[in-house]
């Protein structure tokens, strides 16, 4: 989580503080569907009996989110953007075992 993701500035505000948006380049998005492996399912299922945090699932979603953001950034780079503003995230569970993570935002040129 550095300030620039592969040279592109990513923020979830409508404007970039201290910068001027000169051109908008449309909506960019990235998504990833991650399934947990069966070993994790069993250990996390056991952990779930006791309640509380399911650490492996937290890690899994963290990795997946990185990947979704990476894809969104790649999309923005292909459009020649320098920043992505107003980023939003959405999560949906496709089935009990697989989660889809979706990141989207507006690609802009900013200076």
């Amino acid at each position: 989580m550095e300030q620039m993701v592969q040279g592109i500035l990513v923020v979830n505000t409508e404007t970039i503080p201290g910068m001027m948006i000169t051109e908008t380049l449309g909506v960019v998005s990235g998504s990833t569907v991650r399934a947990k492996n069966i070993g994790r399912d069993i250990t996390q299922g056991l952990r779930n009996i006791m309640g509380g945090e399911l650490v492996k699932y937290t890690e899994l979603l963290e990795e997946s989110r990185q990947e979704a953001i990476g894809r969104m950034v790649a999309d923005a780079m292909s459009r020649g953007a320098t920043a992505i503003v107003n980023v939003r995230f959405a999560t949906s569970a496709v089935t009990a075992g697989a989660a889809e993570l979706f990141a989207y935002g507006t690609a802009v040129k900013a200076e």
Binding site: Q3, L9, G18, N48, M50
Partner: protein, 179 residues
């Protein structure tokens, strides 16, 4: 022939092996589950209280060291001396114990507010927000603006699943002030 019978026996065992293993896991599970459920009945409430107390104390100590809460939900109207910004996020997957599920089920029969689940979800949310603060500080941001919090169900309705949990995901834009 004796040799032929022996090979048939070995082959039969090899074919049956996965099923035997499956049966063994089933037997172990049926023995282990009640033990773990009793464990959950005895200790899950305490564990939850400890978790809430831990999150709370980390939050208070961070707020004391900074002098203010770094998180705000505003977008726009921010200070003009911001030198850099970038996205920051934190997530946590949090679930009720099976004992709490049972209590919740009984509460459901009576109706009204289910305090158990409210307590669990808000504990998860407080933890996610605290991690967002810690992430932001670790990445060198002074404040986080435009914080949004998402909650997603890890076990969708209708799906047969052993895991009952929600994912709380908090994100915002980290900003750094140049003095």
């Amino acid at each position: 022939m004796a040799v032929g019978e022996g090979t048939w026996l070995v082959m039969g065992l090899l074919i049956a092996l996965p099923f035997l293993l499956l049966a063994l896991i089933g037997i172990l599970w049926s023995v282990a589950y009640p033990v773990m459920l009793i464990w959950a009945v005895l200790f899950s409430g305490k564990k939850l209280d400890e978790q809430i107390a831990d999150t709370n104390s980390r939050e208070v100590s961070l707020r004391d060291s900074l002098g203010h809460d770094p998180l705000t939900t505003i977008d726009g109207g921010y200070r003009s001396d911001i030198t850099s910004s970038g996205i920051v996020w934190a997530g946590v997957v949090f679930g009720p114990s099976h004992w709490h599920l049972l209590i919740g089920w009984f509460n459901n029969l009576i109706g009204g507010s289910i305090d158990t689940f409210q307590k669990i979800v808000s504990a998860g949310r407080a933890e996610a927000m605290q991690r967002l603060r810690e992430n932001a500080i670790a990445n060198g941001w002074d404040d986080v603006i435009n914080v949004r919090i998402d909650t997603a169900d890890m076990a969708p309705q209708g799906a047969k699943s052993s895991v009952k949990a929600v994912e709380v995901f908090a994100y915002g834009t980290g900003v750094k002030y140049g003095n």
